[in-house]
């Protein structure tokens, strides 16, 4: 099916994003410089052009996201990337894209906020990513890598999902994933059929003209469109995924995503070695949220501790998932602080002691 026997390289997560986009057949990139994701446009400015694609350094993230909107309306694979302040500026176009059912991949290497914040890692954009982010009632799909290999793999997945559902897909990393260097196996997926023939704009030759828009003024038309979008989001739920680590007999389940999920995992492993019945659920898709995995564990009597690099956002989704049987404790690392494995172990030990 896929060819996983590629070259092994030692690269940053940001570069893995770029290579993943190339492997996925991305044809156009639009972006504006911002730390900590600059290696993405920097590597694509040559690699994408060498591969016959188009690279544009836009005048702003507003423009970059609208260039993406234009490019994907013609059915080609295209992307943009940025970090938190820039992603805020992209919300206008993302809302229009969701409303007019356009695909497209947006990478956010989350940095500390609010405002200009800092350039260190953080997970403060969880709400913005999973609740639509811009105006109106819509959702983007959100996937969160925790390693450089996943950053590569998930770019390939993100393009497939975006075109499968004709919906924007967000890849939510952070400064840790973007700046960290790891060995990555580059593999080439088989070409997917994006099924764009029925809607792409390529000139009304031998067919009726086509229109891509998000304006619905006829009586009942917007309500119908919102019903249609809702049905699509319901359909997306089957894409929900999580990594479950030592959850089979766990009494305490830690829930953490992205780089926090990875750091929490080493804490969980150490506590297991010390004989504690602790496990980890790492949501891989943040929207759709892996509700069933958590609900099943709650039904089995597990307790929950959500750990995030923010002041408490994903914990809402965890609580909603487990609400029939349990609640979730929360531990937050402040955006601006950089946690180590011990920092995340302390609240776990605390929670184990509470019973």
């Amino acid at each position: 099916m896929t060819q996983r026997t590629g070259k092994r390289v030692f690269i940053k997560g940001n570069e893995a994003v770029g290579y993943g986009a190339l492997a996925a057949g991305c044809r156009c990139y639009f972006g504006y410089p911002i730390t900590p994701q600059n290696e993405i446009p920097e590597m694509l400015s040559s690699a994408l052009v060498e591969a016959g694609g188009e690279f544009v350094q836009a005048e702003s993230e507003l423009a970059a996201a609208n260039m993406l909107l234009g490019a994907v309306s013609t059915g080609v694979r295209a992307m943009t990337s940025s970090s938190s302040p820039g992603i805020s500026l992209m919300q206008e176009a993302i809302s229009y894209m969701a409303g007019s059912e356009l695909p497209g991949v947006i990478v956010n290497m989350n940095r500390g906020g609010p405002g200009l914040g800092d350039i260190g890692p953080a997970q403060g954009d969880y709400y913005q990513s999973t609740r639509g982010g811009g105006h109106g009632d819509y959702r983007t799909m959100v996937i969160a890598p925790s390693t450089c290999q996943e950053a590569y793999d998930m770019m390939i997945e993100a393009f497939d999902l975006a075109y499968k559902y004709r919906n924007p897909v967000l890849v939510l990393g952070d400064g840790i994933i973007g700046g960290m260097k790891e060995p990555v196996t580059l593999w080439q997926p088989e070409k997917t059929d994006d099924k764009v023939e029925g809607w792409q704009l390529d000139g009304a030759k031998g067919r009726e003209k086509r229109l891509i828009c998000s304006l619905f003024l006829a009586e009942g038309a917007l309500a119908q469109q919102n019903r249609h979008l809702l049905a699509k989001y319901t359909l997306m739920q089957k894409e929900a995924r999580a990594e479950c680590f030592m959850t089979d007999d766990a009494e305490l389940v830690v829930v953490a995503f992205g780089s926090m999920g990875r750091i929490a995992k080493s804490g969980v492993r150490k506590l297991r070695e010390a004989g504690h019945k602790i496990g980890l659920v790492r949501p891989i898709t943040l929207y759709p949220f892996p509700t069933d995995v958590l609900a099943d564990l709650a039904a089995r009597g597990c307790r929950f501790l959500t750990i995030e690099h923010n002041t408490g956002q994903m914990v809402d989704d965890v609580r909603l998932a487990v609400r029939k049987h349990a609640d979730s404790d929360f531990f937050g690392i402040m955006p601006g602080d950089m946690p180590g494995a011990e920092d995340l172990m302390a609240p776990m030990i605390d929670a184990l002691g509470r019973k």
């Binding site: 044809r27 156009c28 639009f30 188009e54 544009v56 836009a58 005048e59 702003s60 507003l62 423009a63 970059a64 609208n66 260039m67 993406l68 909107l69 234009g70 490019a71 994907v72 309306s73 013609t74 080609v76 295209a78 206008e92 176009a93 229009y96 007019s100 704009l201 390529d202 000139g203 009304a204 030759k205 031998g206 003209k209 086509r210 229109l211 891509i212 828009c213 998000s214 304006l215 619905f216 003024l217 006829a218 009586e219 038309a221």
Partner: protein, 277 residues
């Protein structure tokens, strides 16, 4: 009153609503271009958006561009251009047309891509996008309708509103000290490196409409010939928000607008090249 977006009759996916076939005994003396659909428009009487649409449609026919054209509509009274032109269309957010068009053209360099924008859309909220698309020399054509007001939202002050002109948000008349001077886009665009053609024309009279078509043709040609960015500013009437009859509105273009917004070609690479020889 101006047609508020809420009160405009729903027009998406409208079928051709007018039958133009001559009745028995009638001879067809004036036909519509193939690229223009046979449907009623929502424009006010005397509005020049319809005139501009027709010129664009005639050129799409004459230059055989209809089957490879993609229009990026703007947010303003012309938002429904996609119902009136028989070509592929994508809607961009307010002011972002040139960015969206850049994406379309970069993805599909073989297509004919143009934006159609109002003065609020292009010269206010979308100033950064138009300047940079022009400066990059994107192979795009821009049809810019300057009617000195925000038509769709009820006639508020635009960046092009003339000094002393009364609007709903400058009821005492635009004041130079407070609101600055009206922006002359065609001249500004002409000053940018990537621009192959920039001109200002007017839709107030038959003679000027003929000249407008010539300018639009050049703005389209510089794209099809791959030379650079093509821009045409069309001085247009908005009788509704100017509180005028269509005839008064045409007169206002001549007596008030043209003296401030001079007509002419501000850049044409063709003539630049010959001058250089």
């Amino acid at each position: 009153m101006a047609p508020d977006i809420d009160s405009i009759a729903p027009t998406e996916a409208v079928a051709d609503s007018i039958d133009l076939t001559p009745m028995p005994g009638e001879t067809l003396v004036f036909d519509k271009p193939e690229s223009l659909r046979s449907t009623l428009t929502h424009y006010c009487p005397g509005c020049h958006h319809g005139t501009a649409h027709r010129l664009v449609a005639e050129l799409l026919d004459e230059m055989q561009l209809r089957e490879k054209a993609i229009v990026i509509g703007s947010i303003g009274c012309s938002v429904f251009i996609y119902n009136y032109l028989d070509i592929d269309a994508v809607e961009a957010p307010h002011g972002r047309g040139p960015a969206a068009a850049t994406g379309v053209k970069r993805a599909r360099p073989d297509k004919f891509v143009f934006t159609y924008q109002g003065d609020g859309d292009l010269a206010s909220i979308g100033m950064a996008e138009i300047m940079h698309a022009a400066n990059r020399g994107e192979r795009l054509s821009v049809v810019f309708v300057n009617n000195t007001v925000y038509g769709m939202t009820g006639g508020q002050m635009a960046p092009t509103t003339l000094i002393g002109q009364k609007t709903t948000t400058c009821p005492g008349g635009r004041c130079l000290e407070r609101e600055g001077a009206p922006i002359r886009m065609a001249e500004i665009i002409a000053s940018l490196g990537g621009v192959a053609y920039s001109a200002r024309v007017s839709l107030d009279s038959v003679k000027n409409i003929r000249a407008a078509k010539k300018a639009l043709r050049r703005a389209f040609e510089v794209q099809t010939e791959g030379v650079g960015f093509g821009f045409v500013e069309l001085l247009s009437g908005c009788p509704t928000n100017w509180r005028m009859t269509p005839v008064q509105a045409n007169n206002r273009i001549r007596t008030e607008m043209i003296p401030y917004f001079p007509l002419g070609v501000f850049k044409d690479v063709a003539t630049l090249n010959t001058e250089g020889e």
